[in-house]
C-alpha cells in the first residue's frame, strides 16, 4: 500500500504556492489568467513579468525565476491589479511577499532605496530626506542625477539638513530588531 499523498508531501519543503497561501492568504491557483490585472497595471509597458505572469509562474512553482526577476522591484504597489481582480487574487500582495523573499538577494536600485529609507527610520525614528538622498545615491552609485535639485528643495524650506531623532527612537529600534527576528 502506498502512503496517502498528504503524508508523502509533508516531508518536502512547502511549495511556493503553499508558502504564498500561508503568508498572504492568496490562493494563486484561483487565478484564471484573465489578464485584467495586467491590463490596468501602470508598469506593464516596462516590465517583463506582468502581474498575471507573476501569478502564473507562482502557480507553476517557478520560485527561482520569480525571485530573480527585476519586474518584482518595478511594482509601484498601486494595487490597481488587486482592486480589479475578479477572483480576489491580490497580485500586489503576492508581489510584496515575493519581494520579501528576494530582499536579501536584491542589490538593485530600488532595493537600495527601500533599505536607505528604512535605515533612516531606524536611526532617527522618522525619515530625513537629505540623508535619504545621500545614502541612496551612495548605495545605487548614481551620484550626479538629482543632487542638483537639492538646493531647490532647500530654498523652499523643504529639506532638513539636520536630523532630529524622536524621543522614542530606542523603542523604534527595538521594534525593528524584533520584526527582523520574527520574520527570519
Amino acid at each position: 500500500m502506498s502512503a496517502p499523498p498528504s503524508e508523502a508531501g509533508s516531508h518536502h519543503p512547502p511549495t511556493l504556492t503553499a508558502h504564498l497561501r500561508a503568508t498572504t492568504g492568496v490562493n494563486v491557483a484561483a487565478c484564471y489568467q484573465c489578464g485584467k490585472c495586467s491590463a490596468g497595471c501602470p508598469m506593464a509597458v516596462e516590465t517583463a513579468l506582468r502581474p498575471h505572469d507573476v501569478m502564473r509562474l507562482a502557480a507553476s512553482e517557478q520560485r527561482e525565476r520569480l525571485l530573480a526577476a527585476e519586474s518584482l522591484w518595478l511594482c509601484l504597489t498601486c494595487e490597481a491589479c488587486t482592486a480589479r481582480c475578479p477572483n480576489g487574487c491580490d497580485p500586489a500582495r503576492v508581489i510584496d511577499a515575493l519581494r520579501e523573499e528576494a530582499a536579501h538577494q536584491a542589490p538593485r536600485a530600488i532595493g537600495a532605496f527601500h533599505r536607505s529609507f528604512l535605515d533612516q527610520i531606524r536611526a532617527f525614528g522618522r525619515s530625513f530626506e537629505l540623508g535619504l538622498v545621500m545614502t541612496y545615491k551612495l548605495r545605487s552609485g548614481k551620484l550626479t542625477q538629482d543632487v542638483t535639485t537639492a538646493p531647490g528643495l532647500l530654498g523652499r524650506g523643504k529639506l532638513k539638513l539636520v536630523p532630529h531623532p524622536i524621543a522614542g527612537v530606542s523603542d523604534v529600534r527595538r521594534i525593528f530588531r524584533a520584526c527582523e527576528k520574527e520574520e527570519a
Binding site: Q33, C34, G35, K36, S38, C41, H52, P86
Partner: protein, 673 residues
C-alpha cells in the same frame, strides 16, 4: 400474543452458502410471538409466494417477516403477496440477510448469528406495525404556468394540446418574455419575432388556455393534485373586454418620452402603451407613475387632468377607476417559468458588491448591454435595425464586446458562468458585420464556451468568416475620451497590454434570476440556490421537478439557459404534468406523520423543521366556539415521510407511520437479546 410468520430465503446459493437458513428458521421458531417459521430456496418465486399466502391463511398470521434480500429489491413483491392473502400489506417487513449479511461475510457461524439477530429485530418491529391504507389523492386536471416567456408559452401549449386546461400568469402587460426582445437567434440566425409571434397568438387563441397577463400569483396553498392559487390581476385602467386594440389612445397620449422598457430605455413610449406591436394581449395599459391624470390625482388635484386617451377611445374602454382584482383558481400542478433578468451594473447590484465603475456602464452613454444591442439590431427596434450609437446616432465603426461581465467573477459579481453570452456575443459580432460591412468587432473573452449542436461552428464562423477579432483577456477599465471610448485591455496570448479606441462597447452582463423570485419560491415552498435560481429535485435525474411534489420548473429561472434548453425543459415539464394528469387519483405510500392533537402543545417546532411545509395549524374550540388551543396537523398529501418532525417534537406528539417510536425502540431492544 402476536402470530408472526417468518420466511427465510436461501436465494439459491446466494444466502444459503454463507447463512445456515435452516438454523435461522429454527431459532426464530423459538422466538416469542412467532407462530410459524420456515426456510425455502426462492421466496420471491411463485411457489415461494404461495407458501406465504398459504401460511397466512392456515396459521392465521397477523404479521410476516421475510428474511431475504434488501427491501429495495422485493418489499413490494412480498407486500403484494400478503395483500393477496387478505393481510394488510403494511404488516409485512423484510430482514436483509443477503446484501447486509451473506454477501459481505465469510464466517458461516457468525453470519448465521447475525441473520438470526436481523430477523428477530424485524419480528420485534412487526409486532408494533399497524395496518395502513394507501393514500389516494384526487387530481385536478388543470395546470398553472407562472411566467409567459418562451418556456412558459411552450409548457402551456404542450399541456393544453395534451388535453388539460392551463392558467398562464404573466406579470407584464404582454407575454413573450425576453425572446420577444431579441433580433435574430443563435445558432441559426432566424428572426426571433418570426418564430415567437405565432406561438404567442396560439396561446391567446387556445380554447384550453386562460391567459392572465399583467397578473401575479398572490398566494398558493394545497398540495400535488390540489393546489389553490390566488391571482392578483393588476388594474390596466383599460377594460380589456371592450378594448379592440385600435391604438388610438396611445397616439393621443400627451406623455410620449417615457423610456421604453421593451426597448431597454433606448426608445420612447407613451404613458398608455402596449409594450410592442405584436403584444399579446394587445390591450394597452396606463403607466400610472407617468400618466398626467394619475399624477395629478396622486397630488390631490380635484379637477381631472388630461384624459386625452379617454377622449380618443371610441369604445369608452379607458377606465381610470379600475382597481386590482383577485381570482382564485384550482390547479393540480404548477410550472415556474419566470425567466431571468440581466445584471444591470449599478442598478441592482447584490448587497456588498462594489460594482464595475471601471466599465462606465450608466455613465458612458455608448457603453450598453447585450439586450440593448439586441434592440438596436432588431428591425422593430428604436433604430429600425440600424446599429447606431445612443449618444449621437452615428454608426459605430469599432465595437468592443466584453464577455463575462459580472459572471465568473466571485470578487464582484457571480461566480457562475452565464452560459449563453459566449454565443450571443458571437451572434452580435455577426449581426454587426452583416449590417456594417466596414465595421470591426473586437471581443475580449477568457474562454469560449460554446458547447451545443452547431455552437462551436457558429463562434468559429464569427471569427473566420465574419472577421470578429477575439482577444483573450479581460479589460481593466474603459472611459470616454472625447468622441471615443478608450478600452484598456490585455492580450494574454501575445502578452501585450492593449489600448483600443471604440465607438461603442457592449457588455455581456450576467444572467440573474428575476427580482422577487425568492418570495414566489417561498409561496410555492420550492427551494432556490444562493443566487435565487430555483433548485431542481435532482441535477441529473429529475431536472424539471422541484422538491415540492406537483411543482415543476422550466427555462432560465432554474439556471442560465438559452432558448433550445428552455423549450426542452418546458416540454419535459409538460409531459411530466400530463403523466400526472393521466391518473384520476394519486397513490401514495402511507408513510406519513400523524399528530396526536391531545398531546400536542402547539410549540410548532415540527412546522419549522418540516422541509415540505406539511405541518398546518388547526384551532381547537369548545362547543361554544371558544378557542382552546392551536395544534399541529400534518397534511398527508404534502408529507413525504422523512420523520424529522417526530425526532424534533419535544412532547412526542407526532408519529411517523411505519417508523413509530414504538417500532424503533422495539428494534433497538431486540438487538440486545
Amino acid at each position: 400474543m402476536a402470530r408472526i410468520g417468518v420466511f427465510v430465503c436461501h436465494c439459491g446459493e446466494n444466502i444459503g452458502r454463507t447463512v445456515d437458513c435452516a438454523r435461522v428458521a429454527d431459532a426464530l421458531r423459538e422466538h416469542p410471538g412467532v407462530a410459524h417459521s420456515v426456510d425455502y430456496k426462492y421466496m420471491c418465486s411463485d411457489p415461494g409466494q404461495a407458501l406465504i399466502k398459504q401460511a397466512i391463511a392456515e396459521k392465521r398470521l397477523d404479521g410476516v417477516v421475510v428474511a431475504a434480500c434488501s427491501p429495495h429489491m422485493h418489499e413490494k413483491t412480498f407486500r403484494r403477496a400478503c395483500a393477496g392473502a387478505d393481510l394488510n400489506p403494511f404488516l409485512c417487513e423484510m430482514a436483509n440477510v443477503r446484501e447486509h449479511c451473506s454477501w459481505i461475510h465469510e464466517d458461516r457461524a457468525r453470519a448465521t448469528d447475525k441473520a438470526i439477530d436481523l430477523a428477530r429485530t424485524i419480528v420485534e418491529k412487526v409486532k408494533h406495525n399497524r395496518p395502513l391504507q394507501t393514500i389516494r389523492i384526487p387530481v385536478t386536471r388543470r395546470a398553472l404556468v407562472i411566467g409567459g416567456g418562451i418556456a412558459g408559452i411552450q409548457a402551456a401549449l404542450d399541456i393544453a394540446d395534451g388535453g388539460a386546461e392551463v392558467v398562464l400568469v404573466e406579470k407584464e402587460p404582454s407575454i413573450g418574455g425576453h425572446m420577444s426582445q431579441l433580433s435574430e437567434t443563435f445558432p441559426t440566425l432566424d428572426c426571433s419575432q418570426c418564430i415567437l409571434t405565432p406561438r404567442m397568438v396560439e396561446v391567446y387563441q387556445h380554447p384550453r388556455i386562460k391567459l392572465m397577463a399583467y397578473s401575479e400569483v398572490d398566494a398558493v396553498s394545497g398540495y400535488i393534485g390540489n393546489f389553490t392559487v390566488k391571482i392578483r390581476q393588476k388594474a390596466r385602467a383599460v377594460d380589456a373586454s371592450t378594448c379592440n386594440g385600435c391604438g388610438a389612445c396611445t397616439k393621443a397620449c400627451i406623455q410620449r418620452k417615457i423610456p421604453s422598457e421593451f426597448d431597454e430605455r433606448l426608445g420612447p413610449r407613451s404613458a398608455i402603451y402596449v409594450p410592442f406591436p405584436q403584444a399579446v394581449p394587445n390591450t394597452p395599459v396606463i403607466d400610472r407613475a407617468n400618466c398626467a391624470y394619475f399624477k395629478a390625482k396622486a397630488k390631490g388635484a380635484t379637477k381631472a387632468a388630461c384624459g386625452k386617451c379617454a377622449e380618443a377611445c371610441s369604445r369608452g374602454a379607458i377606465d381610470f377607476d379600475q382597481q386590482d382584482s383577485f381570482v382564485t383558481e384550482k390547479v393540480g400542478a404548477i410550472v415556474v417559468a419566470t425567466g431571468f433578468q440581466l445584471y444591470r451594473i449599478g442598478a441592482d447590484q447584490p448587497q456588498g458588491l462594489t460594482g464595475y465603475g471601471e466599465y462606465g456602464y450608466g455613465t458612458v452613454p455608448d457603453v450598453i448591454d447585450g439586450l440593448q444591442f439586441e434592440r438596436l439590431a432588431s428591425a422593430s427596434g428604436p433604430t429600425g435595425g440600424k446599429i447606431l450609437r445612443p449618444s449621437d446616432g452615428r454608426e459605430p465603426k469599432r465595437i468592443v464586446f466584453l464577455q463575462c461581465v459580472g459572471s465568473r467573477d466571485p470578487a464582484k459579481g457571480m461566480a457562475y458562468c452565464s452560459k449563453i453570452c459566449c454565443m450571443y456575443v458571437a451572434k452580435h459580432t455577426m449581426l454587426y458585420r452583416h449590417k456594417v460591412h466596414d465595421g470591426q468587432a473586437t471581443v475580449f473573452y477568457m474562454d469560449i464556451r460554446a458547447a451545443g449542436k452547431g455552437y462551436d461552428e457558429f463562434t468559429r464562423r464569427a471569427i473566420e468568416e465574419d472577421g470578429a477579432r477575439y482577444v483573450r483577456g479581460r479589460v481593466a477599465r474603459l472611459y470616454r475620451d472625447g468622441d471615443v471610448i478608450k478600452v484598456h485591455g490585455f492580450d494574454t496570448l501575445s502578452g501585450e497590454p492593449l489600448v483600443l479606441d471604440a465607438d461603442m462597447v457592449v457588455l455581456a452582463t450576467a444572467m440573474r434570476p428575476q427580482p422577487g423570485i425568492e418570495a414566489l419560491a417561498q409561496k410555492l415552498s420550492v427551494s432556490y440556490d444562493q443566487h435565487g435560481f430555483i433548485n431542481e429535485a435532482h441535477p441529473k435525474l429529475r431536472p424539471v421537478e422541484t422538491n415540492t411534489a406537483g411543482v415543476f420548473v422550466a427555462g432560465a429561472c432554474q439556471a442560465p439557459r438559452d432558448i433550445p434548453d428552455s423549450v426542452a425543459m418546458a416540454s419535459a415539464a409538460a409531459s411530466k404534468i400530463l403523466g400526472l394528469f393521466s391518473q384520476a387519483e394519486l397513490e401514495r405510500e402511507p408513510t406519513v406523520a400523524r399528530v396526536d392533537t391531545g398531546l400536542c402543545s402547539g410549540c410548532f417546532h415540527c412546522e419549522r423543521v418540516c422541509p415540505y411545509g406539511a405541518v398546518e395549524r388547526r384551532e381547537i374550540r369548545d362547543r361554544k366556539g371558544n378557542l382552546l388551543k392551536v395544534v399541529a396537523e400534518v397534511n398527508p398529501g404534502v408529507c413525504q415521510g422523512c420523520g424529522t418532525c417526530q425526532a424534533t417534537c419535544p412532547s412526542k406528539s407526532v408519529e411517523l407511520d411505519g417508523f413509530t417510536d414504538q417500532q424503533i425502540w422495539a428494534e433497538i431492544n431486540a438487538l440486545a437479546l
